[in-house]
Symmetry: C2
Subunit: 392 residues, 2 copies
């Protein structure tokens, strides 16, 4: 029988608080670090720019010499190679500012012929000049440990001349599909009672998408010994996901096996579909036991698996992709459960798909996202504005 059913949020907190994020690091070239979590603080070793630079194309001047210049009253300067009274020097965006010059007159505000340059605007010192360190100052903490690195962050590292950095290792997740009805997808001509394995494959692909390293095992039959062996021979992994065998039938051994090796925290949770989910810890590693029914499995994977994976890998929270839509017809929640209703989005309307049938995998593929109904709400009515969390 199930342990006492535990509320969705509470069971997830219990799960997440029962293991620690990974601490192992690796050193990688920056160009391989998109989406990785940095494991060090980056202190700028140089100023960027490291020299005073022109911020515009034009002429470097001593600003005081433009005093009184205007559209009708140009100041005349002499094009030169070194700065002195009455001189100006041609500069491009990014060029070093010549010594003694302190401002740049934009090309548009000048007319020049031969070595004569007419200046049609009065400018103040530092105008159109990029100061040393205006982008990054030497000694500045430019990126903080445990940030998720985006390409624009890596560009900043490149601007500092940094080649390699420390990042946290990507979690290795072993995935164990169980069930004597399952056959690999390369078998031809199914017998009655045979079903192609899909949950393990799908979980492996989500783990990869989330930034982890999946290790998808061969199908394990419904045998406590075989399940035990599959788990214990993969305890070098950082997280364990099993699929199937979590209900309370004669062939459902997975939670008991977890309990026999480690600690079963929860069996039976307040998500729908997904009630037969079990959560455990073995050797300090999170174990998610997904129900074998595909829709229940995917809901458990998203609600528990993704959160656990992200905590393990120190990946900061990010908002889901959400679309606002008007519900085309009523959907019912299941009292006491956080209900994940599959919907298709069509022209601003959210159209519920078969809300029963946790076994109907194709309903997830047909869905654009979930409308999530909290435990204490009976359902949502036709015409209501709802948030649709897109299925990634």
């Amino acid at each position: 029988m199930f342990k006492k059913r535990i509320n969705a949020q509470k069971s997830r907190e219990l799960f997440l608080n029962s293991f620690e994020p990974l601490s192992q690091i690796e050193i990688l070239p920056i160009e391989e670090c998109d989406g990785r979590i940095i494991a060090e603080n980056i202190i700028a070793g140089i100023d960027v720019p490291h020299y005073r630079r022109a911020a515009m194309d034009g002429f470097a001047v001593m600003a005081s010499e433009t005093l009184g210049a205007g559209t009708g009253s140009p100041v005349m300067l002499r094009l030169a190679n070194t700065m002195e009274k009455g001189a100006c020097i041609r500069v491009h965006t990014g060029s070093p500012m010549p010594e003694k010059s302190d401002a740049v007159v934009m090309m548009e505000d000048t007319v020049f012929y031969g070595d004569k340059v007419e200046i049609f605007t009065q400018i103040h010192p530092l105008k159109n000049v990029g100061a040393i360190g205006e982008d990054v100052q030497k000694g500045e903490n430019i990126i903080t440990r445990e940030c998720l690195l985006r390409p624009c962050d890596i560009a900043v590292l490149a601007s500092l001349g940094i080649g390699n950095i420390k990042v946290f290792k990507r979690p290795v997740v072993v995935i164990i599909p169980t069930g004597e009805e399952l056959v690999p997808r390369w078998k031809k001509n199914l017998e009655d009672g045979e079903v192609y394995e899909t949950n393990g494959l799908m979980s492996a692909m989500y783990i990869r998408k989330w930034g982890g390293i999946p290790r998808l095992l061969d199908i394990v039959t419904d045998s406590p010994e075989k399940i035990n062996e599959a788990i214990t021979s993969n305890l070098d992994a950082d997280m364990i996901i099993t699929s199937g065998g979590t209900s309370v039938g004669k062939r459902d051994f997975v939670p008991a096996v977890v309990e026999s090796i480690g600690k079963l925290l929860v069996h039976g949770v307040g998500i729908s579909p997904g009630k037969p989910t079990a959560l455990g810890i073995i050797n300090g590693k999170p174990v998610l036991c997904m129900p074998g029914y595909p829709v229940a499995g995917i809901v458990a994977l998203f609600f528990y698996g993704k959160a656990a994976f992200r905590r393990l890998g120190r990946i900061p929270d990010e908002p889901e992709r959400i679309v606002q839509a008007e519900l085309s017809e009523k959907i019912a929640g299941r009292t006491g459960y956080k209900t994940f209703a599959r919907v298709k989005i069509d022209n601003g309307r959210a159209i519920p798909l078969a809300t029963t049938g946790a076994g109907i995998l194709s309903s997830v593929s047909k869905a654009d996202g979930f409308v999530i109904i909290p435990e204490n709400i009976e359902g949502r009515n036709a015409g209501e504005k709802v948030e649709v969390v897109l299925i990634e």
Copy 2:
């Protein structure tokens, strides 16, 4: 000089309408197809399930024999191996339904001892029975051409026993960083006037993140011949991105080179930062000329580059990740320009970062996202609710 400046939206439409999506396909194993665009309609070749299956653990029965059963008035059946009057057969979730049986009584509604089974509930035919094809019907169009494949879609393909599928090829994007001030990031000890190349690296990483194949060239100096050579020797690629040399200075040759080889559509656009962006077409391939200033470059890359890349690769639109926040202080838009203001999000508040300084790369890294101010709006006020489009 710039061509006439063209409005942000209009220039993007012009750009997107001037080339066609790619048509080349490749055949790949399904497990490599996450995030890919399918290039065929998938018609189910089998029913899923292909046999009548039990949807619960329990006993297969002839429903008519449970007539009158109730909590206080069980019907007694005999545990058997073949179905006949008065018999029932033990089944598990997913087992084939025995011939002649038409319903399953859940284990919870029975008590059994030896070969006697007491049934405590009356059930109707088809109860707890999964029909042939209840998930997918043979002949059904289960996935439509040009869908973006998610792991849950690939799971459906696996459930049909499909091993390989046709997908559109990933766009190859050549990236050409230009500028005589640029040096590669492995050079030690910069001279005055030298800057590490960052825009090319950053663009390459975004292209990879978006699902493309970047080809990042070595730095090209500000020479029309060298720029021409870099472009023309890479016309096997599907898209061209250049960085730098797009302004109207003495060293800005890129738009003219594009014009000399193909067609320059636009030079000077209504985005801020990013005005010196140029857009062109060479041999039917989109060419994005990003300004060299890093913030201008990234805005051009997001606004034009991403849209063009997605059209090329037939990638459907997806909503941005957005966070609602309260603006901590006023930000000004630039009249006539779609303005991208960098903000940091802290505790539900959007805090503007240096809104000037298109050269300040670190400001993008410090930002969580952009508040986008339309052309016809002066700005947004402190305390206003704004949408922050997260920088990915």
